[in-house]
Symmetry: C3
Subunit: 155 residues, 3 copies
């Protein structure tokens, strides 16, 4: 069967997990926008202090770090450190033709733990909780990359 | 036809858009280098203050934030938040076999709005202009990811 | 032959280089964790100052920038600026069916120079050394992207 066909359940599993993670990352950009509007601050560029329709009364403090905005930026950076590599590793992994149940456990497991990590970070849980929810995703990344590496070296 | 052949106009469209966006991101690294040399500052690592051939007269201020360098770093970070996900979403999207005109509108439209966003950010236009040029790209990302997700769920 | 088969030496070359680079990026997350534990600091979120099992005696200074942790964060950011684009560009490049020796030189050459760049950054070598080891990887990225772009435009 065509490896990249959506009729191939392995590839369909990858596409579902990958699109959800892309949407998650894009959502962080919009959440940053929402919180900048709510806080009316947390901006980053000097030009954001110009008087415009959306910022009728600029104040220098709008360029200061805003806790609510900065939390989303940290979550976003954590996504940038993880999701692009998940998108690549998951793709290489499904191309090695693993069993479907293993692919589902790893790919959907990654999605679930990343969403749980997001909730824990957003609601400022203890570092331990955050670490506990970040770790499985990172181990899945390592597992899938090693799996692909070994398959390619042994081919 | 082979989905990943350049003879396939859908895939060729993706490759053109993707390579342009990769080159755009890489160009930000070089632009950072150029501006660090012009400003003779905006460095980030303590060791960059050592006296060397390219930095014959080091000064502590070289580690301070330099506005011209920092602007490129912000643009670069914005690229990191967007382009890797475009590269993945565009790939998944063309694999669902959409119509060629739709693929061209979305993929080339993304490239054009990202380049316009870059110019607006580089020249410090109002936040509104920047937001207006960032939004279409983000909506295209969301559209392509949802499209791939729905296709995979319905397969 | 199936372009995405590991029996295809071009694709196997890509998978080896790509998985090594994914593992490299993931290793930076773990190295950050190791150094945060060693320094007992370099944290980023206010909630990391709560008294917990792993942080029995919190101090406000734990949120200050820690040189040893921050170095890894800078290396990690440099990876984010480079590796996702390598993963995409290398994939597009091998799909254009280049000669195997060229693919091996570029893909393995990228891996080797990135690892050397990591060592130079980690051990705080002069900026010149770091730049010298960063440049080949960036040129390889540009070469592979231009190659794919020209192949797609000429198809």
């Amino acid at each position: 069967m065509d490896k990249l066909s959506l009729q191939n359940p392995l590839f369909a599993t990858y596409v579902i997990a990958a699109s959800l993670m892309i949407l998650k990352a894009v959502a962080m950009s919009w959440l940053t926008v929402v919180r900048m509007m709510q806080s009316n601050g947390g901006f980053r560029s000097p030009e954001d202090l110009r008087q415009t329709l959306f910022n009728p009364t600029p104040r220098p403090e709008q360029l200061a770090i805003d806790d609510r905005v900065d939390r989303i930026r940290r979550i976003h950076l954590n996504d940038l450190e993880n999701l692009p590599f998940f998108l690549a590793a998951g793709f290489l992994f499904v191309l090695t033709d693993p069993s479907l149940w293993l692919a589902r456990v790893l790919l959907y497991g990654y999605v679930v733990t990343r969403l749980a990590h997001f909730v824990a970070y957003l609601t400022a849980r203890d570092h331990e909780t955050r670490a506990l929810l970040w770790t499985p995703g990172s181990l899945i990344l390592i597992f899938m990359s090693c799996w692909a590496l070994i398959a390619a070296l042994g081919a």
